[in-house]
Amino acid sequence: MLRFSRASRFSLMAIVAFVLVFMYAPLSVLILNAFNERQVSAWPIQEWSFKWWVVAFESEEIRAALLNSAIVAFGAMTIAMVLGSLVAFALSRYEFFGKGTVNLLVVLPIALPGVVTGVAFSNTYSNFLTPAGFQIGYFGMIVAHATFCIVMVFNNVFARLKRMNPSLQEASMDLGEGLWGTFRLVTFPQFRTAFAAGALLAFALSFDEVVVTIFTAPPGVTTLPLWILAEMARPNQASVVNVVATVVIVLSLIPVYVSQRLSRTENEK
């Protein structure tokens, strides 16, 4: 057993406590400031109020941004669901030359800094596609988001497929069911929770992504994070931004929570 002196134990606990405070204090400041009466956020909060929530909910701009974020996240999620599952099947069932490279390719879009991914897409769109007479517009943003969302679906589905018993599918084939029937009746029911969990994570990832979005959003189109960014660039931080940020936190935590529940119930079976 690992033994520590009382002093070392105490210092370990102090470090853990410090890490927790460090991780949660700023977020708490942000959320509490969503209820700050003053126009400009500050600490300590002198007067509490819900007025910025009313302002946020009545804003056309914010509603449009929310809609854009949802459309992009939904589009990216859908593409990632298909592509991520296909790669997961290939990598979990087959041994082949270049397997590591394929794995690397899937991870690369989130391992590379957002600015590189964003600039790469923006460069392709504006310096290659536009001169060639092809305006990608809104769809360009979805393409970029889908690319880094693939890994989320892949990770979840891959982990599940690895644990699945391949003989069930063989049995199904031996009993005369074809590839599609086996997939629909045997394979899919076994990995659908992982599939849904990965999809939700992809949605959450896309929903609050900002750096790639900056470079790929067509002019005049604003997502929720882009709206926050524009507000942050103003000299005085308005409290209404904190309301939107709080909403973003909640809207990305819900899919994550559901996704965790989905994975957990399946693992307990």
Binding site: I15, M23, L83, V102, L108, V119, T124, V256
Partner: protein
């Protein structure tokens, strides 16, 4: 009467059943077309653009060949200083993350009760999903002139650090810490208990066990974590912009040049790409990639 049931006729399934390679190609065709055709081609085009230049009078992009954009990274003092500063910040972020992840991981994996461990695991994972920009905003609110830190320090008569390089480093740590903490915790947790017993039997005290047994064994996990802490810090620019005061990073140069001078932005993008690819190669060699 016929006792033999009719065998269903499924030409496609029969065809594919005998041909695993065809099945594999069918599975990979779409995703690889996307990842290579959309992403890798975009990165390659970015590399191509890095060799172009802009007309000094019209500021239009000229298709040609020059290595000046790359040479400038090293010869223009402001550019070079920014690259070194960015590298320093990324290293500092990684070191701070490791320094906190190891004690946290040891506590969670080996000292904490199971329910405390689960609680801590959730507590560390959760902020990962709070969103990049939201966390940046939170740090800005915390360290701003009228923020929490200054308020806490006011009774001691000192002023907080203000926006600058230290707060940029702290903010990046705040953003990427879970990427380091989770693999390190998992790795420590997987170390067999009898290794700890053996170490204790051989006379090693707690810290000796940590530095001479735990540390070498969790190195792959640390490398896996640092792929993220290092590469994401290396390419970040919004932290520098919002909590860095006048701090400039490589990302700032890329972002401010993408419309004005795309070739320069492209050349600078190659710096983080080069570092990350190098890092990923090392990670793959040490088997760290499976831990991501």
């Amino acid at each position: 009467m016929s006792a033999i049931q009719k065998v269903p006729n499924r030409p496609l399934s029969t065809y594919l059943h005998k041909r695993p390679t065809t099945r594999l190609i069918a599975l990979l065709a779409l995703p690889m077309t996307w990842l290579v055709g959309v992403y890798i081609i975009s990165l390659a085009l970015l590399l191509v653009t890095a060799f172009w230049f802009i007309d000094p009078f019209t500021s239009k992009v000229i298709v040609g060949f020059t290595i000046e954009n790359f040479v400038n990274i090293f010869t223009v003092p402001a550019y070079f200083a920014t690259s070194i500063r960015t590298l320093g910040i990324a290293v500092a972020v990684t070191v701070v993350c490791i320094a906190f992840a190891i004690p946290l991981g040891i506590f969670m994996a080996k000292l904490a009760r199971p329910w405390v461990r689960n609680l801590l695991a959730v507590a560390i994972t959760l902020p990962l999903w709070a969103g990049y920009l939201v966390k940046l905003l939170a740090m800005r609110l915390t360290f701003t002139e009228e923020g929490l830190v200054n308020w806490l320090m006011a009774p001691f008569g000192i002023n907080g650090p203000g926006f600058g390089i230290p707060v940029t480093i702290l903010t990046l740590v705040y953003l990427w810490f879970p990427y380091m903490a989770l693999p390190v915790f998992t790795a420590i947790r997987q170390l067999p208990l009898n290794l700890f017993d053996a170490s204790a039997d051989l006379g090693a005290k707690g810290w000796a066990t940590v530095s001479r047994m735990v540390l070498p064994l969790i190195t792959p996990a640390i490398i896996a974590g640092s792929v993220f802490t290092f590469s994401l810090s290396l390419g970040d620019y919004l932290a520098a912009r919002f909590v860095g005061g006048k701090t400039q990073m490589i990302g700032s140069i890329i972002a401010s040049n993408i419309n004005l001078n795309p070739p320069v932005a492209a050349a600078f993008s190659m710096v983080p790409i080069a570092f990350v690819v190098m890092y990923l190669m090392i990670a793959r060699r040490t088997g760290s990639l499976e831990r991501m």
